[in-house]
């Protein structure tokens, strides 16, 4: 635990990005931290999982969010502010995560960063995916549905679509790139 004042100052730095800690309205107890965890851990996990798509990363990043939040949080911050603050820490944590793949500002590539998060994430994720798939040509949509929504292997997808496995990978590559541009193009 840091002993210096910065542990309780009103800012949290994430690689140059500063997320200001909300000001407290009234002195409150440390129970905030535990309560914030209890009521938000599943929602934050889902928020992150919907963006990284795998359990190990989602677990690591969720843990990071709560550790960062608790380490740099005053004990007197109010609970409603804490909720939105947790989501903002989650957003910068995700941006840092994607920056490990591509050094440009990944936050600007994610069209969801400025949108207020929904209370229940998963139904929303399904809707977003449906809307995205609807913008794609039939063959692209088909390969993504088989691979991701039905969990077909490359071999099974190849049989289903009557293509070679190499061609399935090429089709998947084009489909994901096209879908990625569709997402990036919207704002």
């Amino acid at each position: 635990m840091r002993e210096d004042e910065s542990a309780t100052t009103a800012a949290f730095a994430s690689r140059g990005k500063v997320v200001p800690l909300p000001r407290a309205d009234a002195p409150q107890d440390l129970n905030h931290l535990t309560w914030a965890y209890q009521t938000h851990v599943t929602a934050i996990y889902q928020y992150i999982y919907n963006r990284v798509g795998n359990r190990p990363d989602a677990e690591d990043l969720t843990a990071q969010v709560f550790m960062k939040a608790i380490n740099s949080m005053r004990s007197d911050v109010s609970v409603p502010e804490l909720r939105s603050w947790l989501y903002r820490v989650a957003q910068t944590t995700l941006a840092d995560h994607w920056r490990e793949y591509y050094a440009e500002d990944a936050a600007e590539l994610d069209d969801d960063v400025t949108r207020p998060p929904a209370a229940r994430e998963n139904p929303e994720a399904v809707q977003r995916v449906d809307a995205l798939l609807a913008t794609l040509p039939e063959s692209y949509r088909r390969v993504l549905e088989l691979r991701f929504l039905r969990g077909y292997s490359v071999r099974e997808t190849a049989q289903e679509l009557d293509l070679s496995e190499t061609n399935v990978k090429v089709l998947q590559f084009r489909a994901l790139n096209r879908a990625g541009r569709e997402r990036g193009g919207r704002s």
Binding site: V41, S75, L82, G151
Partner: protein, 228 residues
């Protein structure tokens, strides 16, 4: 270096197998977007996306350690008298705070919280917030609401409205209400609660605490909830 179908498929396979994908630097934005899109598609697969019991337990332990550590440090703003009891309860803490919000209007018929720890915590400096019109509440069917820090259900029986916390007393997930089965159901690990807030019998060796009641009142046709 250019992105190619083989490399992208390796990433996709990692996602599909729930492995941590390798962190390899990518050549351009398109390559990054393709992977972000793959992650989003993977997350939409039915049944994906809930935290595991083991992870939640691990997290809960870490959070408790951190809170203990912090409360061991002198902090002028904190009130030591209540701190001790508030950090010890694990899943009971959320229940406890919500229970402490008040003893609810029209709740005399309901049993008192069974676990002593879940009735001791207090919330101060709250206020009454309107959440729903009484007219919007069907007879006997819980309606979910969220206000400030509170996630809860309102249940109207005749002229009486009562409030229940929607936070599962197992690991803190938010409950859904199933009209079909007339139960509150936890999407995380399947715990269920009766409409009274009592846990369904015999699900766990150690029975879960009941869902805490929320303090509610009716003002000019609006249901108000006491919340922080």
């Amino acid at each position: 270096m250019n992105d190619d179908p083989e490399q992208l498929d390796k990433y996709v396979e990692d996602l599909l197998q729930d492995r941590k994908p390798e962190r390899t630097p990518l050549p351009d934005e398109d390559a990054l977007r393709a992977r972000q899109t793959a992650a989003m598609l993977r997350a939409a697969k039915p049944g994906a996306g809930l935290p595991s019991k083991e992870f939640l337990e691990r997290m809960q332990g870490s959070i408790r350690d951190l809170v203990d550590e912090r409360s061991a440090r002198p902090q002028p703003a904190a009130r030591p008298s209540r701190r001790a009891l508030l950090i010890t309860g694990g899943a009971g803490v959320a229940a406890g705070i919500a229970a402490g919000v008040a003893a609810a209007v029209g709740l005399d018929r309901l049993p008192k919280p069974s676990a002593p720890s879940s009735s001791q915590a207090l919330v101060e400096n709250g206020s009454w917030k309107p959440v729903k019109a009484v007219a919007d509440l069907p007879e006997g069917t819980p309606v979910a609401f969220r206000s400030g820090a509170i996630e809860g259900f309102l249940i109207r029986n005749g002229d009486e409205v009562r409030g229940l916390s929607a936070v599962c007393t197992h690991m803190g997930c938010i409950l859904n209400y199933s009209k079909l089965r007339s139960k509150f159901e936890c999407p995380c690990h399947g715990a269920t609660f009766e409409i009274t807030g009592l846990p369904t019998r015999d699900q766990y060796d150690t029975p879960l605490p009941r869902l805490p009641s929320l303090s509610v009142r009716i003002q000019r046709g609006q249901v108000e909830v006491y919340t922080v």
